[in-house]
């Protein structure tokens, strides 16, 4: 069977891994890319040109902290000129009245601003930066005052799960149009800190109820995106909408990935925008074709009625939990390795261990 290759919808441009914060659930890989390896401006411009040509509709400028890159306004302006919808995913700690006007002038469409918690002391404990919360509040104020749509992103974990109602209330007070209540996803740093971050089943139930109550209360004023920790689910999530179907991730050094955790996949070359075209990489590279569609699937996925709904779940999770990226995602109750997920949840420690903070190892580079 020949798989249908769709045009990608969405591009995640990870401009840098540098970030003033050190959140222990960061979605970046453990091996952070030093500044000297970052793509120069003209390479990002070429990526944007190629992405628009291929049919990408939205570009998400992310990191690390994308505002660490002085060329961010130029990249936004270029993307806007191509008709791309531009989204800035930021910690907000570098967004202030000196830096924000250049983004507005460039035509930025939307800001997603992350918060580590609504409680300042715990937020700054998790982010590892004193004074960050006040900067974030000021960033939110500036975006809303401009009239640009604002989404707040709260990553949920054991320590802050009880405060979801206050997070939602704060989002309304701050004038956000959308909020993401997103349970930690357990890859990279999140996986390394899983014992400290994973909520209990009871906590998960409470956050779900808080979201449902707020959806009713704030209809038409606040849209709520809710992401659950899939360890507690019976069926896996349709990770990235299927491998190589909708989504392209570009790492700071120009590697082209089907998702932001894909650099963990062993025994395959990572294609690079400096050496090949985006269209060719998307269509033909071994990394993008290896798990596209359903031909690669083992049993029970291959004959499962959900195979074109969840696409076998997440390849990086299968690798992390079952030791094989081509296995059925172990969070699926039909997976041969499902017992491993059950065991993780049954053996959560009573007291969370200390965080392993997201930091560069000394051999690579400084945090800047």
């Amino acid at each position: 069977m020949t798989e249908t290759i769709l045009s990608p919808m969405s591009l995640l441009a990870e401009l840098t891994h540098r970030c003033p914060l050190q959140c222990p659930y960061c979605s970046n890989p453990i091996a952070l890319e030093p500044r000297r390896n970052e793509l120069p401006t003209q390479d990002w411009i070429s990526v944007l040109d190629q992405a628009a040509e291929m049919g990408v509709l939205q570009v998400h400028f992310s990191g690390g902290e994308p505002m660490s890159r002085p060329d961010l306004p130029d990249l936004i302006r270029h993307a806007v000129g191509l008709g791309l919808y531009t989204n800035l995913i930021t910690s907000g700690v570098l967004l202030n009245e000196k830096t924000f006007p250049a983004l507005v002038e460039a035509g930025l469409d939307h800001v997603q601003l992350s918060f580590q918690d609504i409680d300042t002391a715990n937020a700054e404990h998790v982010g590892g930066m004193k004074g960050a919360q006040a900067r974030k509040m000021e960033a939110a104020r500036l975006v809303v005052a401009d009239g640009m749509p604002l989404t707040l992103n709260f990553v949920i974990y054991r320590e802050n799960a009880a405060r979801v109602p206050q997070m939602l209330e704060a989002a309304v007070e701050m004038g956000a149009r959308r909020v993401e209540i997103a349970h930690t996803q357990y890859y990279g740093w999140g996986l390394a800190n899983r014992a400290a971050l994973m909520p209990t089943a009871q906590q998960l139930e409470q956050t779900t109820q808080a979201v449902e109550a707020a959806r009713e209360k704030y209809t038409g004023r606040l849209a709520i995106d809710y992401v659950t920790p899939d360890y507690y689910a019976d069926r896996p999530k349709p990770c990235m909408g299927g491998w190589g179907r909708r989504f392209i991730n570009i790492s700071p050094s120009g590697r082209v990935l089907p998702c932001h955790a894909a650099e963990t996949i062993p025994n395959v070359a990572f294609p690079d925008v400096r050496h090949d075209t985006l269209a060719h990489i998307w269509r033909d590279s071994p990394l993008f074709t290896m798990f596209r569609g359903t031909d690669w699937m083992p049993q029970p996925c291959r004959s499962c009625d959900q195979r074109e709904k969840d696409w076998g779940g997440c390849r990086c999770q299968a690798l992390a939990l079952a030791g094989d990226a081509a296995a059925t995602d172990p969070v699926c109750s039909r997976a041969p390795d499902h017992e491993r997920v059950v065991r993780v949840l049954e053996t959560l420690p009573a007291e969370p261990p200390p965080f392993r903070y997201r930091r560069y190892t000394r051999a690579t580079d400084e945090v800047g």
Partner: protein
């Protein structure tokens, strides 16, 4: 303004950060919105093409009635319901 206040004199606009755009690769209209793109059905796309921040709901209805040779009261009801829904979904504002 809430959707219950919507009248024929209401001027309809897109919310900042939301727009109708033609997707030339897939040859269809899309609604670009924060962190998502929707595909409007063909009727919604015809309505949204008339949303320019100056036309009122009544003007949009009468243009559609002329273009599709249909009774204003029938079209008016459907467009009102659709616009109300898109206001609730933070696509349009009146």
């Amino acid at each position: 303004m809430t959707t219950t206040d919507l009248t024929d004199d209401s001027i309809i606009r897109f919310v900042r950060g939301v727009r109708l755009q033609h997707d030339r690769v897939r040859e269809r209209w899309i609604i670009q919105a924060p962190e998502r793109a929707f595909i409007p059905d063909p009727i919604a796309a015809e309505v949204l093409k008339l949303v320019d921040g100056t036309r009122t709901l009544g003007q949009i209805v009468s243009e559609l009635a002329t273009r599709f040779a249909a009774p204003v009261d029938v079209i008016g009801h459907d467009v009102h319901v659709m616009v109300s829904d898109l206001i609730t979904r933070q696509v349009l504002v009146a």
